[in-house]
């Protein structure tokens, strides 16, 4: 499965468009991490725990998108976009979407 945020892949031709595919996940952080974030809000600096958490979640969103794409017979997802929104102060939604295509 090829994933790209361009509208085409060099040297390949799109033979069929299969429509929009998407994947999303809502993640919440645990109390320990929240406590550390509270501390960091005094001292500043990077929140490594959150960086990893969101990165993992984003990979999962992409995996779900890819799963949906392969279930409808696509072999590439083009023009992929990411979107993050914090739902409440405790959770964030990671969302990935793109256009599923069959390439030659």
């Amino acid at each position: 499965m090829m994933i790209s945020n361009l509208e085409l892949i060099p040297g390949k031709r799109i033979s069929k468009h299969l429509g929009l595919v998407q994947g999303s996940t809502v993640r919440s952080k645990h109390v320990g991490r929240d406590f550390m974030a509270g501390l960091k809000n005094i001292f500043g600096g990077e929140l490594k725990g959150y960086t990893e958490l969101l990165q993992d979640a984003r990979e999962e969103a992409v995996a779900r998108m890819v799963e949906q794409a392969s279930s409808i017979g696509a072999n590439a997802v083009l023009n992929v976009r990411f979107s993050t929104s914090s739902i409440t102060s405790g959770a964030a939604e990671l969302f990935a979407y793109g256009s599923a295509v069959v390439m030659e």
Binding site: L6, P10, A37
Partner: protein, 156 residues
């Protein structure tokens, strides 16, 4: 009385550590930007002719969550009263974006890519601090990395 003392101590800690973190972060950002300046980012959706065939492409991304410190939050709170530039948050967002770009470039370089096309940014405030003010922001940068072309036998 004890409330005021706690506040002043937090403010001092925030100022001291926050400034120190910021300065060392900026130093590391500048060093790595120098190291990675050969990995070009081309901001186009149309694939330029030299890359139009024989290249393998893949998505790369880099992200970072950076937290404000107590001092910045306090200054930003004051700024909310009089209005104008909120410099403490400007540097915070600048650091987050540049760090995200650097991590993306590092991932691309580790895979041997020579160029990244069509980079997009995404910002989101993750943790709401006191009085629901911004506590930390996430910056994400992503784009399509191109591996150097494999020239076919007989091709120039």
């Amino acid at each position: 009385m004890s409330g005021i003392i706690t506040f002043l101590v937090l403010l001092a800690f925030g100022y001291g550590f926050g400034q120190w973190f910021e300065r060392s972060h900026y130093r590391s950002i500048r060093e790595r930007e120098q190291e990675l300046k050969d990995l070009l980012i081309i901001q186009t959706k149309i694939i330029p002719p030299p890359f139009s065939s024989g290249h393998e492409t893949f998505l790369v991304n880099g992200s970072v969550v950076i937290s404000v410190d107590y001092f910045k939050q306090f200054v930003a709170g004051l700024r909310n009263v009089v209005g104008g530039r909120v410099t403490p948050y400007e540097t915070l967002l600048d650091r987050a974006r540049r760090e995200a770009i650097l991590r993306m470039k590092e991932e691309a370089k580790a895979s041997g890519a020579g160029v990244i096309l069509n980079v997009k940014y995404e910002m989101c405030s993750i943790y709401k601090g006191r009085r629901n003010s911004i506590g930390s922001v996430e910056a994400l940068a992503y784009g399509t990395a191109f591996l150097p072309a494999k020239t076919m036998p007989g091709e120039h």
